[in-house]
Symmetry: D2
Subunit: 143 residues, 4 copies
């Protein structure tokens, strides 16, 4: 459970400062305790050599969703930092929409472990394209 | 050792088709057997909430460097796909330049294991900001 | 779905040949399509410096559960090999029993991605002590 | 640099309390600042279904080498805990000897990032069989 009422606006303000999220056109869809969803509209500017979404873009949005999911459960003054992440890419990312979901598996005082996934929707069918396991760190003061 | 003379032009042509690399302003610096370097100029459009390069951008360029390092040692008709990657973020990425280096650790017929790193140069000093361990797959025909 | 009826006996025979599983006292509990559970009784011979189960033992049984979960969905003549794994250790492993669960996330012709977890039961309460994400490979003939 | 003279005896005493290291017959070969080597003699009791060393055993000794490499650079009162690890298995582990080497990549106040490798020697030839990237945590008091 978040330890303070303003966790959602803290996440939304931080997300709004991420210029890279604006650059790729990502949108913060949902902020709940331990759960954050971010949506991305695939765009030719974001593709790799075969026309699919670049793995780096997919990872960027899932990493961001996981980081903010972790942040919702940290104390109010904390900032969040990605310590490390591991991702398996399961299918090419294409379609009308990519939904990145970050979920807290275990929340500690310093470290938070999250799982994440990215699911692409094409012609109304959702396919999981990436699954992620990551460690986030609470930092006090500015990161 | 690459099995055919045109491995460098194959990598360069594939890199040129990656629109996301153009979007972030990444440049292919060096293509050698089992080794690829890519440089990125940090830019406000690529930042996270504290003004550092977004982890997703850092991962994207190191992943790309590793993928092409793997491709140099695959057979001529193969394409390369990232199966999975793991990255530890060691320091905030900032400065004038980010150099991503991909190196093949073990090259197999189907799978190639690579290590990668990203090093940021600020005021003439280079700092390793990320270290990466990844598995690449050779795919025959289009990925 | 397994492609042949004898998938369970194939897994059980292979498990029986793993002398290390006998050395640590692991027992194959359940074999279902894409799902394998292995139980371990913590023992002083398996501990690290603070008296908890050694991380290596925990990883060994979850890795084995994931490998056999993958094997159930491979073709009959295939053997399975761990390409790579990533594990987050969430809590010290102690108690009367450790249950390792391997589950297939995505089954491909050559590669299979699995998630795994280890849960320790102490005084009737189960705690997840490790979560794992791994890539398995089908090899034809002997590995 | 270790912050106190007794770092080596601290590591050796902790290693001696790891009953699992005795169970697999692992020997602490070298303890230097940020570097620890552990040797293992392959034995039928430690094998998987094809007669090679079980991946869990390989991972256990490399994880232990990395943990103690990290511990040498932590403050005197700290204990070390594996947060997470990622390993790529590069070749079957067999032969007369397995050497596990843990090296610190970056040492922080709370977290330490290490790389590790396991090399098997057979008929006088050394082969790298596993490469590992891991995050260790300093814990004050008992873990």
């Amino acid at each position: 459970m978040p330890r303070y009422p303003g966790f959602e606006s803290k996440v939304r303000e931080s997300f709004a400062r991420q210029q890279f999220m604006a650059t790729v056109g990502a949108e913060l869809i949902r902020v709940a305790p331990g759960e954050v969803d971010i949506e991305l509209r695939p765009d030719p500017r974001l593709t790799q050599q075969h026309g699919f979404l670049h793995a780096g873009v997919v990872i960027a949005v899932v990493d961001t969703a996981c980081g903010y999911a972790a942040l919702t459960l940290m104390e109010e003054s904390a900032e969040v930092l990605t310590v490390e992440l591991k991702v398996n890419l399961l299918a090419p990312a294409t379609g009308e929409s990519l939904m990145a979901r970050g979920r807290v598996l275990r929340s500690g005082r310093t470290l938070t472990v999250c799982s994440g996934e990215a699911a692409a929707t094409a012609d109304g069918t959702e396919t999981t394209v990436a699954t992620l396991l990551t460690t986030m760190m609470a930092v006090r003061g500015e990161a």
